[in-house]
Amino acid sequence: MNVFDTHFDEMACLLYLDEQLEPAQAGELRRHAATCTKCGALLHALEGEGRTLRNALTEADEPMPAHLLRRPAPASSWPWIALLGFAAAGAYTVWNTVFEPIQAQFAQAGFNQDNVLTMLMFSGAFWKGWDTMRGIAESLALVTLGILCLTLFRRRGRRSGGVAAMAGAIVLMALMMPSGAAAAEVRHGDPNYVVPAGEVVHNDLIVVGEYVTIDGDVDGDLIAVTQELIVNGHVKGDVLVAARQVRITGTVEGNLRSWTESVQLDGAVAKNVTAWSAHVVLGPKSVVLGSFIGSAGAIELDGAIAKEITTFSGFARLNGIASSNSSIHAGQVTIGPHEQARGTMRVESRHPPILDPAAKLSSPLQFTLEKRGPDYTSAVYYWHQVLKWGASFIFGLAILLLMPEFFAETMRATSRFYITAGGVGFLVLIATPVVAVIMGITIVGLGVAIALALLYAVSIYAAQIFVGTWVGVKLLGAASSTGALAGRLALGLALLRIAKQVPYAGELVASVAMLWGMGAIGLSIYRRTRSTLAVA
């Protein structure tokens, strides 16, 4: 009974009706209501209200959708065994055909690590001193990436999720920071940084500025983020540069790794050169004692290169000395009169190379005409398609089983908000690399940038999973078990892969699927992140 009058209050009456009161209290209320008109009427009204609610809620006002009435498909084990077999073979093939060759090429260029993760994160591109800590650092990086993924996709523990994400990012950043940074000279804020001739920097040099000129000596590595880098002097370590233009007329005793709009080498590099640029020029006086790997719009190699040459470009001109084997992949290849190839030369191009008669090749040029589109007459081609389908299926299955909530949320975004998802996908596709680059060039954000880039790459691949499942669901109806959903995933991926093989239209299908799927993934991650932040 409440403290204000002699009647029972509404709460007590409700608890009485729901049989939540202690027997003694219930008895007291019952006796009181039998004699009290007001409380009796209240009980009666509340009971009626409960009845009304029950009737309104349980009334079958809407038929169940027909597709939900379908009997769930029975699942047998042998297709699973076959699927998993194909999938495992597919994964193995993808590893063999994609990752290992890349790894081999990088190893050829001096990235002598044991696996791709190490190669990407801890190779000489960042710091040679990491080699000694590789095992520990690699394990920590894997754990960190795992924490990041779990944090993004976890269902519970939202409050700690944000903290874990931050901690993960910080750990990853810390991992990516060079251990010897404290011993390096760091220069920033000066728009025109110059090491004059005769001056020696006795440490590694990290410099951020609009224009950087090295006329003197750097005893260690040179890391530069700038508009223009000119090295006329001497660098004893590696040169790692992200810049608009790079020109090296001096000497680099280590490796040259550049991410630039254009790079011109007129000096000497004692180890390997790796260049990702719009335009790469190795002038006639340039010397590279290691290997050369270039990915660019146009590559002109007029200098001398002691070890293997590997290029991927729209245009390639070879007019220097190649002391070892060359592997040229380009839209158009020209071999000039001064070319001296002492190893084998393999050219893969859409057009036959233009070979100057004066060029000296130690062995006949091996030319492969790059075919546009797949070779439909080859059985190997179809076998590879099956294996690739298997690989994508096992990846989708992993997402479905390990992150069912994320899978369901992304499927909802795929099926409901396809226009929005397409728009978001376009935005994500364009904006993410830009954001990653901006993060990356600030050095401090390098770890986050790499994590973002990895997530981006995974999203591009995962996009087909959700679009494929959507196709499967559209054809077979909603799945009522994980097995049935996996079946729809398998069917959808197969159809998507077939559609992608259609000339021209296939490219459109692939693009639409990628944008749509990426957008759905982006929306799903955004919702989860927003939810986490809202609760936190």
Binding site: D9, M11, A12, L15, H44, T52, L57, A75, S481
Partner: protein
């Protein structure tokens, strides 16, 4: 389906029988769909949720304690799933009502309340329910559609058991407000003496 049949069916499903799973699905899919329809904002959400809930049920059937009623467990899985869906859509801000346990609750005029209910059709009540904040709607559906106990409701919503009564009463009040506003004449069922929700704690 009798309890013996249900027990047998569950045992067969656990043994991997697809036929038995089909029987179980057909028996309960309709109810779960209606439950989801009452709780979630759109029909499409309810369809998706129904599918996903049965996936969870199949995957977690080993966790079902057969000493408890199957429907209670099924609705617990369903309500947890729907609650998670709603929560992910950031409806939390309408879920937390500060100081609700000590908030004075209006003592309704029984006559006005009965009059209001007499004038409201099932459809109007459902429309009113749809306008309620997510947690209030969920509480009423769990109680009056699923017949869940206060303990199960507390588990499903992640609140203390003592708070469930307050939640239900508060939801009823909000529903009355909505239904009262929908009527041509004022006639709100909420005047008279006042009481405190804190009594709920004392009563329990």
């Amino acid at each position: 389906m009798t309890s013996t049949e249900l027990t047998d069916t569950l045992a067969e499903v656990r043994g991997g029988s697809s036929e038995a799973w089909g029987v179980l699905y057909r028996e309960y899919a309709g109810a779960i769909f209606r439950f989801c329809r009452r709780v979630l904002p759109t029909k499409e959400d309810a369809e998706d949720a129904t599918t996903e809930i049965f996936m969870k049920v199949r995957n977690r059937l080993d966790q079902f304690d057969s000493s408890r009623p199957f429907t209670a467990w099924l609705y617990t899985v369903a309500s947890n799933h729907c609650w998670d869906m709603l929560r992910r859509r950031r409806v939390r801000q309408d879920l937390e009502t500060p100081d609700v346990e000590t908030m004075p609750l209006e003592h309704p005029d029984p006559n006005q309340l009965e009059q209001l209910l007499e004038q409201s059709t099932n459809e109007q009540v459902r429309a009113g329910l749809a306008k309620l904040p997510a947690r209030a709607r969920m509480a009423l559906v769990l109680r009056y559609f699923s017949d869940m106990s206060y303990n199960d409701i507390a588990d499903a919503l992640g609140v203390r058991r003592a708070f469930v009564g307050v939640l239900l009463l508060r939801a009823r009040h909000e529903l009355r407000e909505i239904l009262g506003e929908a009527k041509p004449k004022g006639g709100r069922a909420g005047t008279g003496s006042r009481a405190t929700g804190a009594v709920a704690g004392e009563a329990l």
